[in-house]
């Protein structure tokens, strides 16, 4: 194994370890928080203290990964195979991709855009545009995963 390959593998192991530590930390906060909540319903699962305790472990991993990545970029190390053609994939001839004649495609496009404009205009008047505004400006916390 050449040095470049070894460096990239070490780098990937570091990232996997960092991700694992991140996940383990958040799961451990959740588990210990649930234990606290079982005793006191008003207790928080996530707290600044709990996050701070795990951050001491997580942040050094992240720092090492970032520093190592910068180093590899500066040294110009990258997986050369990434930019090479993939040989073992099924492909279809480009010429087989267009079952419709060009004029029909053009008509379908125009019809689609006209329908889109009509829908948007109807939507402005039937309240569905207002709905988008309401839900985007007064967010439901659980709906975005804060729960």
């Amino acid at each position: 194994m050449d040095k470049k390959r070894a460096a990239l593998i070490v780098q990937s192991v570091l990232w996997v370890m960092t991700a694992t530590v991140f996940i383990a930390s958040v799961v451990s906060i959740y588990m210990s928080g649930m234990s606290l909540k079982a005793e006191d319903p008003m207790a928080d699962i996530y707290s600044i203290e709990a996050i701070g305790q795990r951050a001491v472990i997580v942040l050094p991993f992240l720092g090492i990964c970032i520093a190592n990545s910068v180093l590899l970029v500066v040294l110009g190390m990258k997986d050369e195979n990434a930019d090479k053609a993939a040989l073992h994939v099924d492909i279809t001839k480009n010429t087989e991709g267009s079952p419709w004649p060009a004029d029909k495609i053009r008509t379908a496009r125009m019809a689609g855009i006209a329908l889109a404009v009509i829908c948007i205009i109807i939507g402005i008047f039937n309240g569905s545009m207002r709905d988008v505004f309401i839900k985007a400006s007064k967010i439901c916390t659980e709906c975005i995963g804060l729960g």
């Binding site: 994939v89 948007i120 569905s128 709905d131 985007a136 967010i139 709906c143």
Partner: protein
């Protein structure tokens, strides 16, 4: 020597300078998130631009977001099909689909940009294969289950809005929304639980996957890409093949990092990198008649960005600030305010049944104020708990549930249908009640006052039955 160094620098820059596509990606990310001060203040933008869906995936709960996310809007529209058909969202998808298809993914999606930047981290890369091609169909399964079936099932049959993909999966929402809002709203930590934990794990896994595999979220998970992919064959803008010149050598497909089988199929993001591999010069980028107006387009784009930056950060007024300015302090030992230990100023609101709720009349009672909205799933789920607590302790508790001022629904009819019997009000256009209690831009929120009118609890997030009981005991 100096010349040699200059040449080296030029060569270095030449190989690294951003492409047109990268500049447009960065532009889109900045335009979508023009509300830059939101990141510092931890407040989301609430201007009227939020009624407009952008083409790319960009969470509307991101503090920077100046527009709405099309995928979130789609799920909300599907969840309220029993109220009215979401023609606007349908039209938006049709328009973007017919005009751009997955060009959106390749050029106009901040999530796509982020994935491409993460992929630049040096590591051994996983190349596309027939296996990744099969895995790319996973996004259609996620689209069907989380973005269509769950919102429709819960919204229509159960009456509880649940945007399944946003709630349980979307790593972009976790990164932009949760990670953007929590650092400046640490009180929100109290509402984090199993859903956040699951989504955080998904976010970390998605970012990790993007280091090793090109645009892995985009290729395997993104329902928005799945929708736009269905329009790809018809889209006006994007890469097109000159079939007269193409000799079907397959160089374009084999060198493409997406799971395409031919140029322009449902997996093609129209990034145009295949043009560099075509020896026949058979692939061109079609701009739908705008080829000669690139400079004018660039000018319009710059003006639009400057206007959005100025409007979202400096000109758009905040309703909450307006409401707070009108407050008049009341006589009390405790300072007037909405924080724990402070005393809420008196206010009166007209309830939806015509009665009046006056905070001044609640002296000696424990007061529960709940901020909610019909479209907020957790709000609808927790209100029966408030209803129960109120009726069990009606002589000792005063309660008001204040609906957010923005609604297209008949709240009175909704409340009657649910059978809830507590005082309900809808906040006025100035958000007076939300302003007084520091109503957040997120729902639900619960405020509890003790018998002296002092705030003992003011938190965003759902409350359990046990928590409500504990708060009542604490307030007595």
């Amino acid at each position: 020597m100096v010349n040699h160094m200059t040449n080296e620098k030029t060569a270095w820059w030449g190989s690294r300078r951003p492409t047109k596509r990268r500049i447009i990606q960065l532009y889109s990310a900045l335009l979508y998130n023009a509300h830059i001060k939101g990141f510092a203040e931890g407040e989301i933008f609430t201007g009227s631009a939020k009624a407009v869906c952008v083409p790319g995936l960009n969470c509307y709960s991101c503090p920077g977001a100046a527009f709405a996310c099309p995928l979130g809007s789609l799920q909300n529209a599907l969840g309220s099909l029993n109220k009215h058909i979401g023609f606007y969202v349908l039209g938006i998808f049709l328009l973007y689909g017919m005009l751009l298809g997955r060009t959106v993914c390749g050029w106009l999606c901040p999530a796509g940009l982020l994935q491409e930047l993460v992929y630049k981290i040096p590591s051994p890369k996983i190349k596309k294969s027939n296996a990744t091609r099969k895995l790319s169909y996973l996004k259609y399964v996620l689209l069907a289950i989380f973005a269509v079936v769950i919102p429709v099932y819960y919204g229509i049959l159960k009456g509880i809005p649940v945007p399944g993909f946003c709630k349980y999966i979307c790593p972009v929402g976790t990164l932009e929304g949760a990670m953007g809002l929590i650092p400046t709203n640490t009180a929100w930590l109290s509402m984090l639980g199993p859903i956040f934990t699951g989504k955080f794990v998904i976010m970390v896994a998605a970012i990790l996957a993007c280091i090793f595999s090109y645009r892995s979220f985009c290729r395997f998970l993104c329902p928005l890409g799945a929708i736009y992919g269905m329009f790809n064959s018809l889209s006006i803008i994007g890469v097109k093949v000159d079939y007269g010149r193409c000799n079907s050598c397959g160089a374009c497909i084999r060198n493409c990092k997406m799971d395409v089988k031919r140029v322009g199929d449902h997996e093609c993001i129209h990034c145009g990198q295949c043009r560099g591999f075509c020896h026949q010069d058979a692939i061109r980028f079609q701009l739908g008649g705008l080829e000669n107006r690139k400079k004018a387009l660039a000018g319009v784009a710059i003006v639009l960005l400057v206007c959005m930056l100025a409007w979202t950060n400096f000109l758009s007024p905040s309703a909450k600030e307006k409401a707070l300015q009108t407050l008049e302090p009341t006589e009390s030992d405790a300072p007037v305010g909405f924080h724990v230990g402070e005393r809420l100023p008196d206010f009166a609101v007209t309830c939806i049944d015509g009665s009046t709720f006056d905070l001044a009349d609640t002296k000696g009672k424990v007061v529960f104020i709940n901020l909610w909205a019909t479209y907020c799933g957790p709000c609808v789920k927790e209100l029966p708990l408030f209803d129960k607590l109120y009726h069990e302790n009606e002589d000792d508790i005063a309660m008001i549930a204040v609906h957010a001022n923005l609604t297209t629904e008949d709240v009175l009819a909704y409340v009657r249908e649910k059978g809830w019997d507590i005082p309900f009000a809808i906040d006025d256009s100035d958000e007076t009640v939300f302003g007084i209690v520091n109503g957040s831009l997120a729902l639900p929120q619960t405020i509890v006052l003790n018998r002296k009118g002092e705030v003992i609890y003011n938190q965003v997030g759902s409350v359990t039955e046990e928590a409500l009981e504990a708060l009542y005991e604490q307030a007595k």
